[in-house]
Amino acid sequence: MTDPILDIENLSVRYRGATEPAVRGVSFSLGRERLGIVGESGSGKSTVGRAILRLLDSAEITADRMQFEDVDLLNASERQMLKVRGRRMSMILQDPKFSLNPIQRCGDQVAEAFRTHVRASKAEARAKVIEMLNAVQIRDPERVYQLYPHEVSGGMGQRIMIAMMLLTDPDLVIADEPTSALDVTVRLQVLNILDRLVHEHGIGLIMISHDLNLVRNFCDRVIIMYAGRVVETLAASDLDNAQHPYSRGLLAAQPRIGGSRGPLPVLERDDSWMQPEVRS
């Protein structure tokens, strides 16, 4: 791992009005690589992503260190963040049905991401968007540019989302469950597009998911979260050798082709998992 893009130490997030923090003591750093964050719903994995982008207005964020390249995310002003968000760091959201503005044309929404950060005429932005729509393998981008979000399929919508978020060539992209709202048949296609672009542009990727197999195939390293804490960090290839009982439980609960046909084991929880992580 060469010079990290993102370095986080001891991140805790507590929502206003909540007694318990949603995320506590999370530390990791990220280079130009693909990092997966895995956990069940409510484990705080999405909160981590949104805390990095400083999107949580109603939450209290504390950390020993939160550095994104030359930006100190803990102390950056909102004005500084406006220059970081969408330009150097962006996020792909889960469901294009909700994450695209229903009353704006898809192309205009992509163009807006560009024109917010780059001085460009409408025509220049449009050309750039068409080029990017091509890059995410949308045939007939001229037509798609004019469509409204409800007129495109989920897979197409998510490719538009990817185009929007990668258009400004950011250094870090957070993908928050990018395929879980999609049909199984187009998942792989969308993931491959994302993977190729991330590779080509040397982008650091944080892939937030609940799907172990997906993370295993598309990430270099994996963080496993439980109840707001990191329980284990390991290389994706070592996933089968996970030490922590929760990780092992998650793995065991996955159905496998050719595996035993008996009932899958149910995850049994243990209060001692609320302890700091084991590094392997």
Partner: protein, 342 residues
């Protein structure tokens, strides 16, 4: 092809609904005007009409015939735009109504500009600052507007701004001095005076409309504020707002360009409905300001008990209301891309 079919069908459904409502409107006004009064003829011609006049109206209404025949007569009259003759003015009621309506439309239009101009920004601000002090202050301001008896606040307004401070004109649409100076072409004083190039009249009219319109607008802003706030709250928590922020848009841009953009269509329909309910306040405030409009006409007829003229006015209000409802539906269809494509 499919698209056209679905659209035509929904337009047909809409048309039936409107027709049924219109029919219901006629039944309702018929019941109120002809069945509820003990002596409908006396209610129309007044207590001290001659026997001849009484007989004439009695026969015209078909009161010697069964009820459904009477209703058919009533429908025939309405459909031929024969709403009878006003006792007070001696002219056909239709003519009278057309004559007074522009004054009310002028007042209501200024009022809705004030109401929306006040209500929409307040609603957006309240939603953005939900549960913090701006939200609470706005809630009190708008509930206060909603709770005022409009005729009373009109009088207080006259007391303070006209009698006390002399900032605005008093009652009427313009100063006594200017009445009759401008030829009446459209009935809309602002248009007429502008056409005649008489800017003194124009200014006088503005001076007179400002107070009743502001008060009426303020009282209607409560509804607009509340609806704007709740529409905005629905949008602010949507994922596409997060997307906009991730793109690096500032908060105000996210709010106005994205969230507000999405409630625009709903707002137009709400404002159209609010415009209709302004008529209610107009009846009262016109009385206070001696505004020679529809409301004054209605109450003047109420006082002398000209039931026919009163029910005609009620019918007109009902028609305006239904048209505004229809209009708001149509606007929704035209402006929302999601309904457009269906």
């Amino acid at each position: 092809m499919w698209r056209m079919k679905g659209r035509t069908r929904s337009a047909m459904g809409q048309a039936t609904t409107v027709l049924v409502t219109l029919f219901g409107l006629l039944v309702l006004t018929f019941v109120i005007g002809r069945i509820m009064p003990v002596d409908p003829v006396a209610a129309i011609v007044g207590e001290d009409a001659t026997n001849d006049v009484y007989e004439n109206v009695y026969r015209k209404l078909g009161l010697d015939r069964p009820l459904y025949i009477q209703f058919l007569y009533y429908m025939r009259d309405i459909l031929t735009l024969d709403l009878g003759v006003s006792i007070r003015t001696g002219r056909p009621v239709v003519e009278d109504v057309l004559h007074v309506l522009p004054a009310t439309i002028e007042l209501a239009t200024f009022a809705i500009i004030v109401g929306a101009g006040l209500g929409v920004p307040m609603g957006v601000l309240a939603a953005v600052k939900k549960d913090r002090w701006p939200d609470h202050v706005i809630r009190i301001i708008s509930l206060l507007g909603h709770s005022m008896p409009i005729f009373w606040i009109g009088m207080i307004g006259l007391l303070i701004f006209y009698a006390g401070l002399g900032w605005v004109g008093g009652s009427g649409r313009m100063s006594q001095f200017y009445i009759g100076l401008v030829p009446e072409k459209t009935g809309f004083l602002f248009i007429d005076s502008a056409l005649a190039g008489d800017w003194d009249v124009f200014r006088s009219a503005l001076n007179h409309v400002i107070l009743p319109a502001s008060l009426l607008g303020y009282s209607s802003s409560a509804y607009i504020t509340r609806m704007t706030r709740s529409f905005m709250l629905d949008q602010i928590n949507q994922e596409y707002i997060t997307t906009a922020r991730v793109k690096g848009l500032s908060r105000p841009k996210t709010i106005w360009r994205h969230a507000f953009g999405n409630i625009r269509v709903q707002l137009v329909t709400i404002v159209a409905l609010a415009y209709g309910s302004l008529l209610e306040g107009a009846v009262l405030i016109e009385t206070v300001f001696a505004w020679p409009g529809f409301g004054s006409y209605l109450t003047a007829n109420l006082i002398i008990g000209d039931m026919n003229a009163v029910m005609s006015c009620v019918l007109v209000v009902g028609l305006i209301f239904i048209s505004l409802n229809l209009l708001s539906d149509v606007l929704y269809r035209v402006f929302d891309p999601r309904t457009r494509a269906e």
